[in-house]
Amino acid sequence: MAAIGLGAFGIALSAGPTAAQRAVTPFASLSLAEHRVDVGYGVERSRGAILGGGARVRLGARVELALRVQGGWLNAATPGAVDRDVGEVGLEAGVRAAPWLTFRAGAQRRAYSSVIARQGWTLVDVGAEVRFAFARGTITGVTRAAVVPVVSVSGLPRPDVAVTAATGLQIRRRGATLGALYSLERYDFPAQGAISRREQLAAVTLRLDVGLGRR
């Protein structure tokens, strides 16, 4: 599920310059997500769709804030996996250091809910985003990487490895920006006894940003 958040964020934060210059930019996203987890009984996979929405607000020429809410479901794709619903709310801030480089930090609260349990995740990530516009300016490539120094999962210790990365393309047209992004989150938890827990969440996200207000 973190990958879904990453995907949504990745696109939101790398929206084209035209949209980024607008004061308020609402967005909507649709993600195809796959969650993989191994808690010692083999890899359990579940897939599903996540719908999201939110808005970005520019504060001056360099600073941007984004609020995102999304939710969906992940259906079990392997034996042993269980269906679950997912919901997430996140807040992110970005500071543009150069036209092609933005430093970002974000915090998310995520919840997985199934018939047998409910699990809460609190994440804080810090990273950077690189943008490289193609010559004609309509299409922009976006790549983002971040570490997640704060990961708090109910019932689990802090993971040893917590990283996220995403990359994709955006096309901008008349103030609207459509993006496609592949993202992945990886969390390797320390072994408890002989069992080590690994989780991975990947998503392919389509996202539409529509600029509002004045440039």
Partner: protein, 349 residues
Amino acid sequence: MKRLVLVLALTGGVVPRLAAQGSTQDLLQQASAFYERLDVERALPLLRQVVSPSWPFEVTAAQRVAAYKYLGACLALVGKGDSATLYFRAAIERDPFADLDAAVFTPAQLRLFGEARRLTFAVAVRPVASARIDPRTDRLTFTVVTTHAGLVDLELRPVSSDSALRLFRGVSDGPRDVAWDGLLADRHLAPAGRYELRITGSSQLSRRADSAVIYFEIRHEVAPLEDTLPDLTARDLVPEQFSRSAATRDLLRGLVVAGTALLISNGLASRHLGGSLKPGAAVLAGAAVVTGAVAFAGDRRHPDIPGNIVANAQRRAERAGQNAAIKARNSAKTAATVLLVTPAAGIGP
């Protein structure tokens, strides 16, 4: 008396110029006073002293002309017409503008003076006084004179040019005012510089001819002109075409995105869990490669950047408009140029 003055001059060293003029002027005033009282016998010696080569003090041209006039007037009063005419001619030769006031002098004197003018042919131009001339509304007036009827040619030319503007050509008798509008023969405003005004004349009563020249300076008084905007440089314009390197960079960008997607799905993913949504990453990578390739091909085959071409055209048009406005304002300022005329000495450029 002359000896006394001479002794004083020699013993006193250099006699101050103003004092010398004062002495000549004093003598003329005394002579005039005697003349006014018809005491011609006492006026004549004084006047002769002034025009005498032995007169030690400075005599201005005007004083000498005045002395000759009074000498002629005195001699006319005592019936020495020929001598009077001779002195009148001397006055006229030195100053063709010389004249007798009909309210002051007798008809006989006036007649003899007129005879002197007929016997003498001279032309002259009155020196130009300092003036500020707006060519749109004002004219610079030159006053010329002939002592009697003659064919006169009045020409103006910059001393640096052989091209002359003829201001007047025709028969003239006596003083004449000739107006000049400040334009030269090409109908352009006279440029700043030094000018020569030459009058030549030939008598219609005799075969005599004469000429005179004056010089004056012209300066332009014009509001400061604005500089037009400099030509646009490459720094001021945006590229109108994609370079070959830009096309290559587009291809590389696509490859970078594709490579990054594959790297994330394979390299970053946990080996234990395996890659997630690899087909999605592959599709995205493929899209990135296609995007880069299409961009590369587009940049190479259609290198023009329409938006930049339009933007540059707008900048050029904007600059041209600003320059046109500047030129219009400058033209208006130039059209309002005022000529500052000052007399000048000398005989050459």
